[in-house]
């Protein structure tokens, strides 16, 4: 941890040194009268409390992006102005999140990135709206965040409506490819905003692709024991098990299914807590094998995404969706700053809204914002194969073919 502090000090030193350099070079070019003032950006995440793991990962991604931007010369249209992060902690609480927005506003930030959890984003976007402060939701998948008509709020990544849609399309295609082998499914979801919302959309849409939902089982977060759920799944003997829950519960569920010898033709999760986490694949390779997921992911053929993976792993962190979604959220903002050539909030908001930014490494369609939501954003289908996580659909981004039904486990 001292490591982190010293690092931010180093970053600070680097920034001042760089600013000094720009100032010095300013003598040579009289039309740049003074050093470009740094652009302050609020980086707001829940780094303590219930969702602190995700918050910490998110912060790491955002800071990595800021370092990269500054190393590449800052915001050029602002005379090479560096980006300066104002860090804030929502403590996994909505009220603290909104107090932090007020703090960031007073600190004079140009925009805020973050929030992570939907219930935090609901409070923070609204608090920022009061100050016409541009706010980029990094993850917050609840669609309600974007549907309130807040003109300051943008989301580069998909909401769960779009994710579930891709989940259904993808599953339909995979199932068809296997000769319609899956006919029944059981949904296991955690019972808060994310799991409930996802499960509701899923259970409505699954019959459309010829899959009968045998039972929807919800469980609280945290849940200590999944034996009952495993027993009931075993009784139903479904073709597919569809979990929508967080990491810890996902791991316990997967372990219990293994212990209780529950087999199915496939495990297909939607925004699964663990299915597309390198940590899960590394620590539980057996339980993870051939699990499918529909989730946020990077374009596996894009070098920038792979470079970032290396850099993150070099810091001893796992390359999780929080990291790259925050990285890209900052990059999207940086692009808008570049085009706005101003730190004026209205101009930045305008630039964010009209963005067609294409230099990202996400497997998205063309960037186009409608009411703050990137229309190109989508989730992709993933599967754990050969102790790695592969994209299996949509085909233009895929680096592997789906294996379904999954081979019996020995």
């Amino acid at each position: 941890m001292t490591h982190k502090i010293s690092q931010s000090r180093r970053r600070f030193l680097a920034t001042t040194a760089a600013t000094g350099a720009v100032a010095a070079s300013g003598f040579g070019f009289p039309h740049i009268a003074k050093a470009a003032a740094p652009v302050k950006i609020g980086v707001l995440h829940p780094v303590t409390g219930a969702v602190s793991y995700s918050g910490t990962q998110s912060r790491a991604g955002a800071l990595m992006a800021i370092d990269d931007i500054n190393a590449a010369g800052g915001i050029k249209s602002l005379g090479g102005a560096k980006i300066e992060a104002s860090l804030a902690d929502a403590q996994s609480k909505a009220d603290v999140g909104s107090a932090e927005v007020e703090k960031l506003n007073e600190a004079g930030v140009t925009a805020i990135v973050g929030g992570y959890a939907s219930f935090i984003c609901l409070a923070t976007t609204q608090a920022a709206a009061k100050h016409d402060l541009p706010y980029i939701v990094d993850v917050g998948v609840a669609d309600q965040i974007m549907e309130r008509g807040l003109t300051n709020t943008f989301r580069f990544s998909p909401g769960f409506g779009a994710c579930v849609q891709q989940a259904i399309t993808g599953l339909g295609a995979i199932n068809q490819g296997s000769g319609q082998i899956a006919k029944t499914a059981v949904i296991v979801h955690e019972d808060s905003l994310f799991g409930t919302g996802t499960a509701n959309l899923l259970s409505k849409a699954l019959p459309n692709i010829g899959i009968t939902v045998l039972e929807v089982m919800k469980h609280p977060t945290p849940t200590l024991d999944f034996n009952n759920i495993a027993l009931r799944i075993k009784q139903h003997n479904p073709d597919l098990i569809i979990p929508a829950n967080y990491y810890n519960e996902y791991v316990l569920l997967a372990r219990t299914l293994q212990q209780q010898k529950v087999s199915s033709k496939g495990i297909y999760s939607v925004l699964g807590g663990a299915a597309s986490q390198y940590k899960f694949v590394k620590e539980f390779p057996e339980a993870a094998a051939y699990v499918m997921d529909c989730n946020h992911w990077f374009d596996p053929k894009n070098q920038a995404a792979l470079d970032l993976k290396k850099k993150i792993e070099a810091k001893g962190l796992f390359y999780t969706y929080e990291v790259w979604l925050n990285y890209e959220a900052i990059m999207y903002l940086a692009d808008a700053l570049e085009r706005a050539a101003s730190v004026d909030r209205a101009k930045v908001t305008e630039a964010l809204a009209s963005s067609t930014w294409s230099h990202h490494f996400m497997p998205y369609g063309p960037t186009k914002f409608v009411k703050g939501q990137n229309q190109g954003a989508q989730a992709v289908n993933l599967q754990v194969q050969d102790n790695d996580i592969k994209v299996i659909l949509p085909s233009q981004f895929a680096n592997a073919k789906p294996v379904f039904p999954m081979p019996a486990r020995g």
């Binding site: 941890m1 303590t48 409390g49 219930a50 602190s52 793991y53 918050g55 910490t56 019972d191 089982m217 919800k218 469980h219 609280p220 945290p222 849940t223 200590l224 024991d225 034996n227 009952n228 759920i229 027993l231 009931r232 009784q235 990491y247 810890n248 791991v251 316990l252 372990r255 293994q258 212990q259 209780q260 010898k261 940590k279 620590e283 539980f284």
Partner: protein
């Protein structure tokens, strides 16, 4: 609605989860019985014990069950120190302040905030699990498949309860603890060092968490907030069994475990948790001293 093929395993499973609750509640009930304080730091101390077991395994290669002789004394020392150094200081105001109960509760709450966030700072929020060779081992008894780590935890809970019971019933320390819990002033007049006995009780209660950590880690995970899963339920177990009763904590834990499992089966895991609290409310109303409790 459900036949025996699912009912029997559900009951067995409930017993095993209940044993886990009992393990956590044993220390809590001892502390409550003697010091009459509601210890909010119990969950945080369990988390510390789990981290201890985790690091012994991941850094030292020590099997979690073999970590028992290390974790039990270490947790005892932590508990003894906390009571003497921090919690006892607010207790010693007993005569002066009628706010005493509230204050001690707040001190334990403050401690839990400090411990959890220190853990967050030093060990980060990552969920950590250990993968022992027997993590996925099961025993198939025909009517149910029972995971080996949970069976061991069940047996462990019974053994810990038995040791604790023997300690209280048969040793000088146990006699002193009981004397202090009944009549601390009188015990003091008899020459018992009350402060020391308080700290010993808190230490023994915390040592139980050391054992719990060793027995639990093979089947769960650890992260800074993991204690929250157990604390509310452990409180209900303590009250249901009778505050201060060791046998009560064991039986109460098992009852809560089976209730949770059966309600989960019939009402779903989410709504099913209501069963625990309804049983708890009913028990308080009709037998407020708990199953094995003495008159307060």
């Amino acid at each position: 609605m459900f036949d025996l093929t699912i009912l029997a395993p559900a009951v067995l499973n409930g017993l095993m989860v209940g044993a886990v609750y009992a393990l956590v509640a044993l220390g809590l009930t001892l502390i409550y019985g003697v010091l009459h304080i509601i210890n909010f730091a119990h969950g945080a101390l369990l988390m510390v014990a789990l981290y201890g077991v985790y690091f012994l395994y991941s850094l030292g290669g020590v099997d979690p069950y073999l970590a028992l002789p290390v974790m039990v004394p270490v947790m005892f020392a932590i508990g003894y120190g906390l009571q003497r150094g921090v919690i006892g200081r607010s207790l010693s105001n007993k005569k002066k302040s009628r706010n005493n109960d509230a204050n001690v509760m707040l001190v334990t709450l403050g401690l839990s905030i400090v411990i959890e966030n220190l853990a967050l700072y030093f060990w980060h929020a990552d969920t950590r699990t250990i993968d022992t060779p027997y993590a996925l081992a099961v025993v198939d008894i025909g009517i149910a498949i029972l995971p080996v780590p949970k069976l061991i935890a069940f047996a462990g809970a019974v053994v810990v309860a038995a040791i604790l019971w023997l300690l209280m019933a048969r040793t000088d320390l146990g006699r002193a603890i009981r004397a202090v819990s009944k009549e601390s002033r009188g015990a003091q007049l008899m020459g018992i060092d009350v402060e020391h006995i308080y700290a010993m009780s808190f230490g023994v209660g915390t040592a139980c968490l050391g054992a719990a950590g060793c027995l639990l880690l093979p089947s769960i995970y650890v992260e800074p907030g993991v204690g929250h899963i157990f604390v509310l339920v452990a409180f209900t177990v303590v009250v249901l069994g009778g505050m201060g009763s060791i046998v009560g904590a064991l039986v109460g834990g098992l009852i809560i475990g089976v209730t949770e499992s059966l309600c989960g089966l019939y009402l779903g895991e989410s709504l099913g948790q209501i069963g625990i609290f309804i049983i708890f409310i009913a028990a308080l109303m009709f037998k407020p001293t708990g199953i094995f409790g003495q008159r307060a």
